[in-house]
Amino acid sequence: MTNSPMKNDLVCLTLAEAKVGLHQKKFSAVELTKAYLQAMEQHRSLNAYILETPELALESAKKSDERLAKGEGRELEGIPLAIKDLFCTEGIQTTAGSHILEGFKPAYESTVSANLKNAGAVCLGKTNMDEFAMGSANITSYYGNVINPWKRADGKDLTPGGSSGGSASAVARGLAVAATGTDTGGSIRQPAAFSGIVGVKPTYGRCSRWGVVAFASSLDQAGPMTRDVRDAALMLEVMAGYDPKDSTSAPVDVPSFEMAMTQGVKGLRVGIPKEYRLEGMHEDLVALWERGTQWLKEAGAEIVDISLPHTKYSLPTYYVLAPAEASSNLARYDGVRYGLRVPGKTLDELYENTRSDGFGVEVQRRILIGTYVLSAGYYDAYYLKAQRVRKLIAQDFEVAFQKVDVILTPTTPTAAFALDEKPTDPVVMYLNDVLTVPANLAGLPAISIPAGLSKEGLPLGLQLIGPAFDENVLFRAGRVLEENASFKPILER
């Protein structure tokens, strides 16, 4: 019985536990992989994967077993992972959730997924996502929406969040030990919060963007989505690192996040930003935030009220800058060299036909917004002004981090909503990112920790934001929150 909720079920093991089991030969990588492939098949209705690669996974698990047998196991040897379909994977279809890249098989492997594979990870397949990572509910995917494994009492299908909704759903439901995500405005943290898992958006420049299909280059950052804080630390250590192929990658060393995790929060100054106490924030989240503050205080942290005065401008700033970059980044999908081509009588017609058929509504909307804000006559009023505001938002954090070591906020304003409750107004949908976007604009690391349930029984997340290249503090405080919350994942229910 693979859907048994018992902890001894292989798919219930965390990454750290699976690693121990593999090294102690309690089970083989092939057995572990088979358990996941079976779970994937069983929960295919969640639509977490765009592409499953069982043969490749088993082949790679077999090699891992050979290495493990010789005692040559690497950091993630034999660990079955899912890769968000935004990461280019050599010889394996990479769609970015879009029709325009249907059937596209890259001849290269993204740096981050290569780092994971080179550490022995087994790739189970490519996870579903909002088209080109543009969305907060995983409903913009050409390959259908993803369903959250959590259910409300009314039994309605819920969104797992987005854009890394496939990864979130897969990790929560035990369809992968862990998964990669990418976060441009909250695309790791928001689905992590909605699905009751841990998600880390590292400092901009910590993980290479090489080979990751670009959405908004100055904001995109890859990160781990895992069952717990330790797994996130282990996985990020492998994903991160300087890459000379990405000029925005930072030449800084990657510390042992796992070691940092155990250091506790004694003496740590935790900032509570008043601007994050949004009007309309669900009372469950207000209460959870207070509980989280209390837990950290009890663990020896000092709580400091802080102000991030430009917070309210984050969302409009983000929705000028991200579409501006996207409108340019997505120009390459033109039907000329790869992916979808819808012919036309002229070159302009080829472009029009291909891009009209190939891109969904939300992507087209953002391309239009981006093109508009960069146009002659509007550039100064929109793009340039947004860049200036972005600097002010970053400065808010710089000032705050002179007084505090880490900032605690909720991850989202609400719990997961039902797919048939999805907002019809795109701006209402954009509000999902209101608490996560500032960290992207400032390039700062942030983590979402599953910390409790709403009255309706849905997972809620707390977010920690740290100074640039200080992911350590996220793991320290994150671990304390995790221990106090004793959150019970859907797999164990």
Binding site: F87, C88, T94, A96, L101, F104, P106, A107, Y108, S110, R209, W210, G211, V212, V213, A214, A216, S217, S218, P244, K245, D246, S247, T248, A324, E325, S327, S328, A331, R332, D334, V336, R337, Y338, L347, D348, Y351, T371, L374, S375, A376, Y379, Y383
Partner: protein, 491 residues
């Protein structure tokens, strides 16, 4: 107003205002932001990296060699080097532009204001301001004539590094425009930053032309794109000036537009209609942090710079008393200057006289012969050492200047040394009295009537006797000696 700048129209004189944008392909092994090779003439799409083809997730990484080349060129055009510059995306859709944007530098170029001094044929010196030099990527090539409906795309050139060098609107004639491009080409070739081969497209010129009445503000300009030879540059400017003057004198207005020079017809024609006017939506490329250069880097590049054409010219004038015009011809092409200086080393006696002789032979006989056969100096069958050898033979009196021309032609055909050919063909100059006197006596004996006429005062006949003597001696007699001995005999 200086006469040279006047363009006569039906309504009287007009003044031309010209600004040039030169696109110079950077000499480097690999492209501006990718590792693909840049060699000219490779098979289509064989020098294309994943970045050049704009595959998903690919990122540009700046090629340091291109940066160094741009700084070097900037120093060569007396310009400020900007220690911080920014790469921008210029967005437009075209099939040979895979990413949908060209990476360029819009507001913050790597090189700022500079200037070039140009010489005109009459010896006038003019200083032309340079606005900026920036780095940018070249696009690929669309080929429209291989298939009835389809176009083919060659991405070999896509992403190759270019320096766009923009002049101030300081140029006032086609001659100045040509001199400016020649000078710029001489500098980049000397520095090794661009090969300057206009016929291969590694140097292309966009010409902005407008006309105005003296003293008036600038008129509306038209831009002529991608002019690929200095000859066409002058033709295009002349045609465009005439076209604009005709429109204005006919009461019309100049449309600001992009035009193409049709070399076949010798005219410019409109390239883009207004509805395709581009909004390039420039914005800083988020994939590339600002390009930061240190003063140390600039200074170490400055220290490694070769002698520039202007410095070389001054030195040649100073050391060998060459005229400004001769010296400027010698330094215009790096190959010429090298040939000349290698030749100097092989002269037995290095004086301003022999240097001048070498100069005259190089810019006279050698250039004429190269032109005749459509060859470049690198393909010249007479090496610099061989040419110096010929000068040595003249200088030491072994042959006369006249025979030397004959020897030169033999050298051109055989590539042999002058001394060997003189020996082989018996062209050595006769400088002994005896044999010359024998011939003089023979000639005078055959023409007693002419001798009498000469002695009666018809001085002009002297040349007649010299000619006959030289002819009888196969041109090999030392002409000075012939004169002297003939004078003696005729009394």
């Amino acid at each position: 107003m200086d006469n040279r700048y006047i363009y006569e129209g039906a309504s009287g004189p007009w003044e031309l205002v010209i600004g040039l944008e030169v696109h110079a392909q950077i000499v480097s092994q690999s492209k501006l932001f990718s590792g693909a090779a840049t060699a000219f003439g490779a098979n289509p799409n064989t020098q294309v990296s994943l970045v050049d083809a704009a595959m998903p997730g690919m990122l540009p990484v700046i090629n340091e060699v291109c940066v160094t080349q741009a700084i070097k060129t900037g120093l060569g055009i007396n310009a400020e080097i900007n220690l911080v510059s920014i790469f921008d995306r210029k967005n437009y859709f075209y099939a040979d532009l895979p990413s949908g944007y060209q990476i360029s530098q819009f507001n913050h170029p790597i090189v700022g204001k500079g200037y070039l001094d140009i010489e005109l044929e009459d010896g006038t010196l003019r200083r032309i301001g340079i606005t900026r030099l920036h780095l940018e990527q070249d696009a690929g090539k669309s080929i429209h004539d291989q298939h009835p409906e389809k176009s083919y795309i060659d991405l070999n050139r896509c992403g190759v590094g270019l320096m766009e060098i923009v002049s101030e609107p300081d140029i006032r004639s086609a001659e100045e425009a040509s001199a400016y491009v020649r000078k710029l080409r001489a500098i980049v070739r000397c520095l090794g930053t661009c090969d300057g081969n206009m016929d291969q497209g590694s140097m292309r010129v966009d010409v902005n032309v407008s006309v105005r009445k003296a003293g008036e503000p600038f008129g509306t300009r038209a831009e002529i794109k991608n002019v690929n030879s200095i000859k066409f540059l002058a033709l295009a400017i002349h045609h465009e000036a005439e076209r604009q003057i005709a429109i204005l004198e006919g009461g019309g207005e100049i449309v600001q537009e992009t035009r193409l020079f049709d070399a076949g017809l010798g005219i410019t024609r409109s390239m883009r209609s207004k509805e395709h006017a581009h909004d390039y939506r420039y914005f800083p490329d988020p994939d590339l942090p600002p390009l930061v250069i240190t003063t140390d880097m600039v200074e170490s590049i400055r220290a490694s710079m070769p002698e520039l054409p202007d410095d070389k010219k001054a030195r040649l004038m100073q050391d060998y008393e060459l005229s400004a015009y001769d010296a400027s011809l010698l330094v215009l092409e790096a190959e010429t200057a090298t040939y000349f200086e290698e030749g100097l080393k092989c002269l037995q006696q290095l004086t301003s006289k022999t240097a001048k002789l070498l100069t005259n032979w190089l810019i006279g006989e050698v250039f004429a012969a190269l032109n005749r056969e459509g060859k470049t100096l690198e393909e010249c069958p007479v090496s610099s050492a061989r040419l110096a050898g010929l000068i040595n033979q003249i200088q030491s009196g072994v042959i006369s200047g006249k025979i030397a021309k004959e020897v030169f032609l033999l050298m051109w055909e055989s590539g042999e040394e002058a001394a060997v050919l003189i020996e082989k063909h018996g062209l050595k100059q006769v400088s002994d009295d005896g044999p010359i006197l024998l011939i003089i006596d023979k000639v005078l004996g055959e023409h007693p009537d002419k001798v009498a006429e000469y002695q009666a005062g018809k001085d002009k006949l002297f040349g007649f006797f010299v000619g006959l003597v030289m002819k009888n001696m196969g041109g090999k007699a030392n002409p000075e000696l012939v004169n002297k001995l003939l004078k003696g005999r005729l009394g």
